[in-house]
């Protein structure tokens, strides 16, 4: 039970209350017993309606009695004339309305109303819509009522545009608008769809919508709902499934395929087909993280003579599910160890939407407005966060430093959510590192001294050979690290790493330095045993180094490693 304040009362008051309660209880129990008897005897009549009505008026969550009333109505539909049934239904709607006034949040009551409406010969949907309007006036956040409204709209084919107009009315007049903005988010993509982006809004309308929301949060900067909704407007659509990267390694006889979303290549309904020089090969695909069903990165080992060094070049192609749009090709030349084909993060709108000049101009001006608002409301964390989101949408690299400043302010204004902001900032920082790596057209990524609290986009780093993670606040190299299949050198010094479960089965990994971390025991380093090319490991400054006989233990655990540095 919610919202019942504990009140202390005198002895006399207690006694009086006890008497009243006993009387109520007696009546309640007598009624439920009577109903039970009649139900046992299969008596579906007016009296049961009376009795169940008395209980439901005070206890609308007694679901079984709504069931019983439905049984009675079904019986009546059979036995009585349509005119009488119609009148009974009308009475029920009236009864339901009185129940709703007492408790407008009972699932059973609303569902029963749906059932009655669905059983009426001539349901008056307009009246139901009016009922919704009334109840939403009392409490615009009553989700039961909103759901009932959607039921009425669907049954009576109310035009979507009318519902959209209804939300506009509510938003412009009221304060407590989250439910309205939410409803709007479902209606706009239907009325004004972006034909290229599933679930998104056409640009012209989107720009108008930005303005509408800006007005809302400028009028009341503490109205959360507008800020939540604005974040959604700034976002991208869900990405279509694509193959981001195809990588071939001749020495390892291995192929890596990287998808934009986790997929199950081994499901009965999908196939990942491989062609080497137009010849079909059905290899055994496996996910990089051995036990997972869904993975972004999949690999396979090629049979012995598939990639012989004889011909000048060989064409590799993968096709997903017989869909010609979902394929990737690359060519491996004679004498080359490896080859690949990869989409750029920019081209694929991985981190942000490509923007028209119009949209970019408008958002730029909205950024300026938000910055002005922020000066008037320095403690408003929504404003600070939105400035950051706008900067990310407009120019992630250009605004890099300014973004970091705003994150500092955000952590002061909203200290409770510091860990969220650190993780969000880490994500944006890593996006920028990836963009820089792409522009430089290198396979080296420098993420050192960036206050990273977590790792992201590791499935986008399949081709990376050298990674610098030193001087951050990472506590582990998790299983997502298993996608680093081309990684040769890793610097993870000066973090707080206790766990390196992701450093396993990395076939190219030769050098790892983990100085000044929190590795406690040799067992913590077990994953490295499967990195067969690992020849150099620096563990200086870890608690594990102080254990007795540690060097011989590690030599046993990691026989392939020629040099293990402990001090």
């Amino acid at each position: 039970m919610h919202g019942r304040i504990k009140v202390k009362s005198t002895e006399e008051q207690k006694e009086q209350k006890a008497k009243e309660r006993a009387k109520k209880l007696q009546f309640y129990q007598a009624t439920t017993a009577a109903i039970s008897e009649k139900r046992k005897d299969h008596q579906f009549d007016q009296e049961v309606l009376e009795l169940t009505g008395q209980i439901l008026s005070v206890n609308p969550d007694y679901a079984t009695y709504w069931n019983l009333r439905r049984q009675i109505f079904l019986h009546f539909e059979h036995e009585k004339e349509p005119e009488e049934v119609k009148s009974i239904h009308q009475k029920e709607l009236f009864f339901l309305e009185t129940c709703l006034r007492v408790n407008p949040k009972s699932y059973g009551t609303w569902h029963h109303r749906c059932w009655v409406m669905d059983h009426m010969q001539e349901p008056d949907w307009k009246r139901e819509l009016e009922l919704c309007n009334k109840f939403l006036e009392y409490d615009e956040r009553n989700f039961h009522c909103w759901d009932y409204r959607r039921f009425v709209v669907q049954r009576s084919a109310v035009p979507v545009e009318e519902e959209l107009a209804y939300t506009s009315r509510l938003i412009s007049t009221n304060f407590s608008n989250y439910s309205s903005w939410h409803y709007r988010s479902t209606l706009l993509p239907i009325v004004h769809p972006d034909h290229k982006r599933q679930g998104r809004i056409s640009e012209k309308i989107l720009l108008k919508e930005y303005e509408l929301v800006q007005n809302a949060f400028f009028t009341d900067p503490n109205d959360q709902s507008a800020w939540f909704y604005y974040r959604w407007l700034l976002g991208r659509a869900d990405s279509l499934l694509k193959i981001n990267c195809l990588y071939v390694n001749r020495d390892q006889r291995r192929i890596l395929v990287c998808f934009s979303r986790p997929v199950n290549v081994l499901s009965k309904s999908s196939k990942l087909i491989l062609f080497v020089d137009q010849k079909l090969i059905l290899p055994e695909w496996r996910p990089v993280a051995g036990q997972k069903t869904y993975s972004c990165v999949w690999l396979c080992d090629l049979p012995e003579c598939t990639l012989d060094n004889g011909s000048l070049h060989q064409d590799i192609k993968v096709v997903w599910d017989g869909d010609d749009d979902l394929q990737k090709e690359c060519t491996i030349y004679k004498g080359k160890r490896e080859s690949w084909c990869r989409d750029s993060a920019t081209a694929e709108e991985l981190f942000r939407c490509q923007m028209s000049v119009e949209k970019s101009t408008q958002l730029q001006s909205e950024l300026e407005s938000c910055k002005q608002l922020q000066e008037l409301e320095p403690d408003n964390k929504w404003c600070l966060l939105t400035v950051i989101l706008l900067m990310r949408a407009l120019d992630p690299l250009g605004y890099e430093n300014e973004t970091l400043q705003y994150f500092k302010a955000l952590k002061v204004a909203d200290a409770m959510r510091t860990r969220y902001y650190n993780d969000l900032c880490s994500k944006f920082v890593i996006e920028n590192c990836i963009l820089k790596m792409e522009y430089a057209e290198v396979r080296v990524i420098d993420m050192s001294h960036k206050n990273l609290t977590r790792l992201c986009y590791l499935d986008q780093m399949v081709l990376v050979t050298h990674m610098n993670l030193s001087g951050n606040q990472l506590t582990c190299l998790p299983p997502s690290f298993l996608t680093m299949q081309c990684l040769e050198v890793l610097n993870a010094d000066d973090n707080s790493i206790e766990n390196v479960s992701g450093l396993s089965n990395l076939p190219q990994l030769e050098e790892v330095t983990l100085r000044n971390n929190c590795i406690q025991t040799p067992a913590d380093l077990q994953p490295l045993a499967s990195c067969l090319k690992l020849s150099f490991l620096d563990l200086k400054g870890n608690p594990v180094c102080n254990l007795p006989n540690i060097h011989s233990e590690l030599t046993l655990l990691l026989p392939q490693v020629k040099e293990i540095i402990l001090q």
Binding site: T64, Y107, S179, M416
Partner: protein
């Protein structure tokens, strides 16, 4: 009177009481035989289980009953095959689940269905792909989930849907960063959590929100100290137990979720709780239920 008026949910009430006792290592103080004797006659001919004698069967109470019997390792007390048949019969063509024969659709029931089947080792009895399709169709602009497609995000529904996706191995379909943000914004200056924007904090959201965050791997986005402080303040020092917020009346529902929330926050006086099933972690482990949460 309260006991009488809450008879319509008795099976869940028993589950709340037993689970909180087990979490505190005190299950032995409950009368197992009496409870098993209560559960058995609540199974109806259709296989479904009701909240109490004289009430109609429903998925909600079918799950509670299966949870109780699992705690006591006594599933033999009911006809398990019939339960599976009942759950299966409630799946709709669009993948959703009705709560009972009267047809109310709600993602809560999707959760009840798969949680029941998972505890019985019978997930194969329903069309999981379709069930997933329906739950995903309830995902909203803010990354959260509602009762039905188009319904507003709500912490209780989010718990049910993330729990559902954990059981069906589909958590990768959640936008964890977006949903995690929405969930951590439930924390108010008092340290307590509400169920959706602009609402009051409530100890039961310490469970729905926290468990959801744990499932999607973002538990650390909540300020743990402030939340723990809030939950403890909801205790009644005279009677024991927890209320929805400080100063209100206690009840078993809020007591369970207060304790379960504290367990998720790492309180060592309480057994580790499983965030999907809201039972001591050792229980789903004992019966080998496969669950993979997000990192």
């Amino acid at each position: 009177m309260e006991y009488c008026m809450s008879e319509y949910l008795r099976m869940s009430g028993v589950y709340w009481g037993l689970t909180v006792m087990d979490l505190m290592g005190q299950l032995h103080r409950m009368n197992k035989d009496e409870i098993l004797e209560f559960v058995k006659p609540c199974q109806h001919e259709c296989g479904g289980i009701s909240a109490s004698i004289g009430h109609d069967p429903h998925l909600l109470y079918t799950l509670s009953a299966v949870q109780i019997l699992t705690l006591y390792n006594s599933l033999h007390v009911i006809d398990v095959d019939k339960v599976v048949e009942y759950v299966k019969s409630l799946q709709q063509p669009d993948g959703s689940f009705a709560g009972d024969q009267w047809g109310e659709i709600d993602t809560r029931f999707s959760f009840c269905a798969v949680a029941t089947l998972a505890l019985l080792g019978r997930l194969d009895a329903v069309d999981i792909d379709k069930a997933v399709e329906f739950v995903l169709s309830c995902m909203n602009f803010d990354g959260g989930f509602g009762c039905r497609p188009g319904s507003e995000s709500h912490a209780g529904q989010i718990y049910c849907c993330t729990g559902f996706l954990a059981i069906t191995g589909q958590l990768h379909q959640v936008n964890a960063d977006l949903l995690g943000w929405w969930l951590c914004e439930r924390q108010l200056p008092s340290g307590g959590l509400n169920g959706r924007p602009e609402k009051l904090p409530d100890v039961c959201y310490s469970w729905w929100v926290l468990a959801s965050l744990k499932i999607i791997g973002r538990l650390h986005w909540i300020d743990r100290e402030k939340l723990e402080h809030f939950i403890l303040a909801c205790q009644d020092e005279e009677t024991g137990g927890f209320a929805d917020r400080p100063g209100d009346m206690v009840d078993p529902f809020h007591t369970l979720f207060g304790i379960a929330g504290l367990s998720l926050l790492g309180n060592e006086q309480i057994k580790p709780v499983n965030p999907v099933f809201c039972m001591p972690e050792e229980v789903p482990r004992r019966i080998n239920v496969k669950l993979e949460l997000l990192n």
